[in-house]
Subunit: 469 residues, 2 copies
């Protein structure tokens, strides 16, 4: 139970804190190695880092009490949801108290009339969607992983439906947040808009636990569309696929999802998910509309745009089973790529650029892959200008990790040159802090000022996003 080398607290303080935590939570505060190991990492290649103690609070009040203990002994606090983040957000790199919020999994309120819901931070995306059964409403933000809604808010997550329904940022109305000193605040509100004071809600969304702990989230819901349709279209060229999307967005064609997969990714999911897609650059489309005719209008327009850009015929997925199978395959893209090399680790990039730059950015990135020794696939939420390269690294060739890091760095710098961002949806964690100055310039100092004002002790998920150490 000795604090790690970069921790600033003493063993004595830690012991006292653990004793206070166990008094508060009983067995829900644990120093068991298995729990500490389980909570030492997300789904990424970043070096695991064990917290000293893992707590499972059951309420905002308990989170508040834990933060007071953290303050008393100056022990860091790391919020933990489903552990699906990929930039080292949950790794306890300075040791401390990991707050596993999954026991806070109550859906507190669903209002069908107002199309909103309030949930505890540990409720997962699929849990909420299931609870909305028979309401006519659903929650669309969909990062693939079954993340917790607190985690999604914390990392400003998005996913396949963002092109139509926005990221979590556009879908969070209000938050309950516990501050570094244990005070509980409520930000935002249930009105659809407000001009009443500073927008704290959106300051906490994406702050990755570095300014406070999100314990409740009020979310916008959307009506389930009357009609949906799903199509697959293969393209002669990668550029043709991407340019189809650019034009579709510019024409205002109402796409609910538009996902790009390069030929290598198609090959990988064919194998993993037992599909028989043509091995070419491919788009998966989903249309949402008031009725079938509405959708047909959109699809017809899009088919003619695609045809001008080397697109083949649309292949329609009509049964619910076929649609689900296709989207499941898309969500399993990561696992499909991972399976290319037994025992591989996967480094995943996440740049996002203005859509006019997207074809050029993906093309250059794809060319750059000719220079690396590892296999890689490309998938993308192309309607948003966002794509991922999944680099499959063989542990038998440890130099590949360094090689992949350099590739990732080149990808980020390319996106920044094209007025893009180093992360569309995965967040900063510890992995991308080095790019924040390049991307934000002096605005980074303002982020630092805010961090200092709200977390003067640098106890809230230290070493992530903006670090005061």
């Amino acid at each position: 139970m000795a604090p790690g080398p970069s921790s600033s607290f003493t063993t004595t303080d830690l012991r006292a804190a653990v004793s206070d935590l166990q008094l508060l939570l009983g067995a829900r505060a644990t120093i068991a190695t298995a729990q500490r190991e389980h909570h030492s990492h997300g789904e990424s290649y970043h070096a695991p880092a064990l917290p000293d103690v893992v707590c499972f609070p059951g309420s905002t009040k308990e989170v508040s009490a834990i933060l007071k203990i953290s303050e008393r002994y100056q022990i860091p606090v790391i919020p933990f949801g489903a552990g699906t983040s990929v930039e080292g957000q949950v790794n306890a790199i300075r040791g401390g108290i990991t707050l596993d919020l999954r026991q806070m999994n109550n859906i507190l309120r669903i209002s069908v009339e107002d199309s909103d819901a309030t949930v505890e931070a540990g409720v997962t995306r699929t849990q909420l969607v299931k609870a909305l059964n028979n309401t006519g409403l659903t929650f669309f933000v969909d990062p693939g992983a079954d993340a917790t809604l607190g985690g999604m808010a914390g990392t400003r997550a998005s996913g396949t439906t963002t092109v139509r329904y926005g990221t979590i940022r556009e879908n969070v109305l209000a938050l309950t947040v516990v501050l570094a000193n244990g005070r509980v605040i409520r930000t935002g509100g249930r009105a659809r808009k407000s001009a009443a004071g500073y927008d704290l809600t959106h300051l906490f969304v994406g702050s990755e636990g570095t300014l406070g702990v999100i314990t409740e989230v009020t979310l916008r819901l959307h009506p389930i569309p009357e009609a949906t349709a799903v199509a697959v279209c293969a393209f002669g060229t990668l550029r043709g696929a991407v340019e189809t999307v650019i034009e579709a967005i510019q024409f205002g064609i109402g796409l609910a999802r538009v996902e790009f997969l390069d030929d290598k990714q198609v090959e990988a999911i064919n194998r993993y998910s037992k599909l028989e897609l043509t091995v070419l650059p491919t788009l998966f489309f989903e249309f949402h509309g008031m009725n079938v005719r509405d959708i047909k209008d959109q699809a017809t327009m899009l088919q003619s745009v695609a045809a001008e850009h080397s697109g083949k015929e649309f292949e329609w997925k009509t049964s619910l089973e076929d649609k689900d199978k296709l989207w499941k395959a898309r969500h399993d893209a990561y696992h499909a790529t991972h399976a290319l090399v037994p025992g591989a680790e996967v480094l995943i990039t996440d740049v996002c650029v203005p859509i006019s730059q997207l074809a050029e950015c993906i093309t250059q990135t794809r060319s750059d892959l000719a220079n690396v020794s590892f296999p890689a696939t490309i998938v993308g939420h192309v309607g948003d200008g966002n794509f991922h390269v999944l680099c499959v690294l063989d542990p038998a060739h440890p130099s590949q990790r360094e090689e992949a890091s350099r590739f990732s760095e080149r990808t980020v710098q390319r996106a920044l040159r094209m007025s893009g961002t180093c992360t569309g949806e995965h967040g900063i964690g510890s992995g991308k802090m080095k790019y924040l100055r390049d991307e934000h310039g002096d605005a980074l100092d303002v982020m630092r000022t805010i961090k200092k004002a709200l977390d003067p002790d640098n106890r809230m998920n230290p070493g992530k996003v903006v670090d005061l150490a």
Copy 2:
């Protein structure tokens, strides 16, 4: 040129500051009384308050230089756009330097491919819309007044199209901001989404010049819809009109605008704008679609919803002229009401509630109007849950202002009880600071902490939103 009673700077400091400002700007820094008077108020009943000096900077660099002078002599700075705010946002209640940003009126960049544009803060909404002619794109956020885009970002403005296109908050991608110490930062970026660090853009949007001065705004644009249609529908009851909107939103009917006017408002605009609308509670609808059929589907659904709620037949406005006339009349609602009493002053409320509460909130508010001695009309962006009561106060009866204040207070408290906000779109200014604690509780202290961190001298539009004095 003696500083006002609540100012903290000395006459000597002010003189030195004015001298520095004139050295920097020449005649564009003026102490002329006419200019000071012109800049002493927005469009509201709040007591005018003259700045000591008015500056007309031409660039971000000049704004930065002015803020350094403000810092040197500890003189407040008040940003001023079109002067159309209604909660006292621009009144120089502690004296100081008013920054009139209207000379910063360059449209810096329009990207048709990316559907975005960057403008200087002094560009007005209609100037931008005009510049977008022949691009196939437009800018939809529409507060009625021809506000500057910097002012709209600063006050988190919205308007008639928010139900479909969002408020300015959802349409600002990036900002250039000059901080209290004169440093210039760029927040956000041109990628459609990003998870890279704290969301400073949305912290400055709605901060009303109290954290920094917005000098450039990057905005999302939208394709002009292929087909639009406008209809008017009168209702037997106020509640029927509002319930029609609630159901339409719940069904996901794609409304681009839905504006409510009570019978008194209809009467006022009939007179002012020479219309012949039936004097009943009324909704104005606008539909946007890919084609006429698409719109007809929506309109048919909506007509049947309306019919179940005391709605009469839709009256369609088909010519461009008739459409424009109707929306101009809606935008002139304020002037129409104002004209009811010669020489009147108008106090306008601005609450916003969850839509399930809207019918009850408007009904109760309307009943409350039976208790007051002044005439009043009600208009609302009802798709968002937002409505305004326009109280027409006769200067010949000065007690009406106090009466109207009490009415406004009751309206706000009613909205807060219904989980609403004290301001949907007009902002806080000096007029609504008293409600922030009721609405936000301890979160107000976090706003204060942020204000203190970014503006430790309390020089940025002091006495508005969050005041450190």
